[in-house]
Symmetry: C2
Subunit: 115 residues, 2 copies
């Protein structure tokens, strides 16, 4: 029988650092739970990833910024988006009062030997 776990459980009360937890990982993809609480990327610190990413915000609130656009993207629970590889982006803001829970699917290129 498969093991059931809950994405909203085992949330630490204190989140001093943003928390990245791998839920599933193989050569093709990595499924990750990310927990933020008031965290953001440093100014001019862009994620520039070799892999495509599909991300959904499940709880909380966040603002993303993309290097090719000055506008911020507001994310609320249930909002999802696809971030192609090398689409430079950063987390501009996450709600400091509540926990923000993300589910991220990283999709690695076939030729990339991940692990």
């Amino acid at each position: 029988m498969p093991i059931i776990e809950n994405i909203f459980s085992k949330i630490p009360e204190q989140v001093p650092d943003e928390l990245f937890q791998t839920l599933l990982s193989n050569k093709q993809i990595k499924i990750e739970r990310i927990i933020s609480k008031g965290h953001s990327s440093s100014v001019n610190n862009w994620y520039d990833q070799i892999q495509d990413e599909w991300i959904i915000l499940l709880e909380g609130q966040a603002k993303l910024q993309f290097a090719n656009n000055t506008a911020l993207l507001n994310l609320n629970p249930g909002d999802y988006l696809f971030i192609p590889a090398h689409s430079k982006h950063r987390v501009h803001w996450t709600d400091p009062t509540i926990t923000t829970i993300w589910l991220a699917i990283h999709i690695y290129p076939n030729e990339y030997d991940y692990e």
Copy 2:
């Protein structure tokens, strides 16, 4: 700028058939939203998939059955599990009173030419 959509939006009021919507698809994976409302698999109708699947229930309630076990798996919002390829399973029950929303990640073997 990436397009943001919401997993909880555009839910039809009537769901005569279970609804499968592809959110992202490439050679490696397919990300799918599934909407159920009282649907279940026919008795002895097992999913026997060539691909691994990671699934999370985001809204509603469901019971899954696995061929190698008589017990039912109760799923509530936030519950997720990994279903390896060829692990025969069926949807025994979904709540008929509210919409059940699933997010499924199908992970295709490298050699499989999906599309």
